[in-house]
């Protein structure tokens, strides 16, 4: 199972095994990681699962779609170069070791 590490707003880190195909958001929420709100459950409709992807993975993970890009513009936290909505990043073997920082404000 590919692993993903979450850096929480308080600086602490949690590493989880992700089911192949589950999103970075789903992996966090199913395990009860706080800070990723995901109000809409992954429909790219709420921008409350905002993360900053670690620079080292930014190219591999890629950038947002146009729709996601517009959602990020309206996110509660100012976006950065590697901002993504974690519901739109599906885990796969290639992303094993992924690190994402959870945006400190989601709503």
């Amino acid at each position: 199972m590919p692993q993903v590490t979450y850096i929480l707003p308080d600086g602490s880190e949690t590493t989880l095994d992700a089911r192949d195909g589950d999103s970075v958001m789903e992996t966090a929420v199913k395990n009860g990681i706080k800070g990723i709100v995901a109000e809409c459950g992954g429909a790219c409709s709420c921008a409350t699962c905002h993360v900053f992807v670690d620079e080292a993975f930014a190219d591999r993970v890629g950038g947002p779609s146009d729709l996601e890009d517009d959602m990020l513009d309206g996110a509660a936290c100012d976006r950065r170069a590697t901002s993504r909505l974690s519901c739109q990043i599906k885990m796969c073997a290639d992303f094993d070791g992924l690190r994402v920082e959870i945006a400190p404000k989601q709503v």
């Binding site: 089911r19 195909g21 589950d22 789903e26 929420v29 199913k30 395990n31 009860g32 706080k34 109000e39 809409c40 459950g41 992954g42 429909a43 409709s45 709420c46 921008a47 729709l67 517009d70 959602m71 513009d73 309206g74 996110a75």
Partner: protein, 411 residues
């Protein structure tokens, strides 16, 4: 001795109450009873990603087993409360399988059931509803073989299924009894757009539809017979004509109802102070602060009202205040609604419906009440924040879609 909190109903609201109770520091026993056989799951994808085959049942689960174990949330699935007694300091419930569950406080999150269409032939195989994973499995198991899909009801759920069916190349007819689509939720501009948009994608939309009965071959549905004598061929009929609040347990307790739903106050308390209720089955004071009672069948309300209910259960009562919002994905059309438009006296159109991208802003006495956005997520995000903060947008300026809505927000 603490007997804990019993949550009856294991949907989105029930799950959220359990989660929030632990987050709010509640240390007692939490038991959640659900009559479905699987742990709490997301319903919205059932009519979209699940039907497309993009989401499986495991991916729909809200939490994994470890979460429930770590948080000491005792899930009782595939069982239902059939008797309940309540005194001044708590009570006990008995389930269909004979379990006896004692509690100090009770939370009701029973959700709703689809309203059934009671016409001749309604029990034919292939006449389906969409609410639970069992409903979705029934639909999916007949999906591949179906050529002709008839959807009864031009609301969110019906149009979502129609969009998936059309994208899969099926012949799709939507029968709506009213004179426009989604009439309860949106204004005529948005209704008209969705009618045209679904027609452009190849669906047949019938307004003011008068259905007489279902035709069948003895066991399976074969068509929908209209009152004018015409018959629309159907391999599947998906009925989406609204939902009814589940009030079985509320009735056992003699709780006060309003319009067939469980009446609560702004603290999610029912007419019995030991019992809270949240979610689809509840009639509640308008959470925007406006007058009146509302029923909100949405994820946002299921979650946010549950949080208020949990606060009440841990004696940190906070009035439930929220700006309702909704979404409906219909193939490539993303509808997002923020606010409640009830009582509007003016609308402003922004953008071009013919390009499948526009917003409608709803006003009352010149102040923004709500917005419908179709493929305009920037407008949605801006207006949602504006409404949440109690701000407004000048109606005279809002129509100019070359100016970003977020730059037009004023107090």
């Amino acid at each position: 001795m603490s007997r804990g909190i019993l949550i009856i109903g294991a949907g989105q609201s029930g799950m959220q109450i359990a989660d929030s109770l632990r987050e709010d520091g509640y240390e007692g026993v939490i038991t959640m009873v659900g009559d479905e056989s699987i742990a709490p799951y997301q319903r919205p994808p059932l009519s979209k990603a699940y039907l497309y085959g993009e989401a499986d049942e495991e991916s729909l689960q809200f939490r994994n087993e470890k979460f429930y174990a770590d948080n000491r949330i005792d899930l009782i699935l595939g069982d239902a409360v059939v008797e309940v007694s309540l005194g001044e300091t708590g009570g006990s419930a008995t389930t269909a399988s004979g379990r006896v569950l004692s509690f100090d406080r009770l939370a009701l999150t029973p959700g709703s059931v689809p309203r059934k269409l009671d016409i001749p032939g309604a029990d034919l195989d292939g006449v389906l509803y969409m609410r639970s994973i069992a409903d979705a499995r029934s639909l999916k198991s007949r999906w591949e073989a179906a050529t002709n899909v008839v959807v009864i009801g031009g609301g969110f759920i019906g149009l979502e299924v129609a969009a998936v069916a059309r994208k899969a190349g099926k012949n799709v007819t939507v029968l709506e009894g009213a004179d426009r689509m989604m009439a309860r939720a949106v204004c005529p501009i948005t209704s008209e757009f969705f009618k045209n948009a679904h027609e452009r994608r190849g669906s047949n939309i019938v307004l003011n539809a008068r259905i007489d009965h279902f035709e069948g071959d003895g066991s399976r549905v074969t068509g929908v017979a209209m009152q004018d004598g015409s018959v629309i061929p159907a391999d599947i009929v998906m009925v989406g004509i609204g939902v009814l609040a589940r009030t079985e347990v509320a009735n056992l307790l003699g709780l006060e109802l309003a319009n067939g739903a469980i009446l609560v106050n702004e603290f999610a308390e029912t007419s019995n102070p030991l019992v809270v209720a949240a979610g689809d089955a509840v009639m509640l004071p308008n959470p925007t602060g406006a007058d009146g009672l509302v029923r909100l069948e949405s994820v946002q309300n299921a979650v946010d009202q549950a949080k208020a209910a949990a606060k009440t259960l841990v004696n940190q009562r906070e009035p439930y205040r929220a700006m309702p919002w909704f979404w409906s994905d219909q193939a490539d059309l993303k509808l997002q609604i923020a606010g409640l438009s009830t009582g509007y006296d003016q609308t402003v159109l922004r953008g071009n419906p013919d390009e499948d991208a526009f917003s409608v802003l709803y006003y009352k006495n010149g102040r923004l009440l709500a917005i419908d956005c179709v493929n305009q997520v920037s407008d949605f995000m801006a207006a949602r924040r504006c409404l949440t903060n109690g701000q407004t947008i000048d109606p005279a300026a809002a129509a100019d879609s070359s100016v970003a809505l977020k730059t037009l927000i004023t107090d």
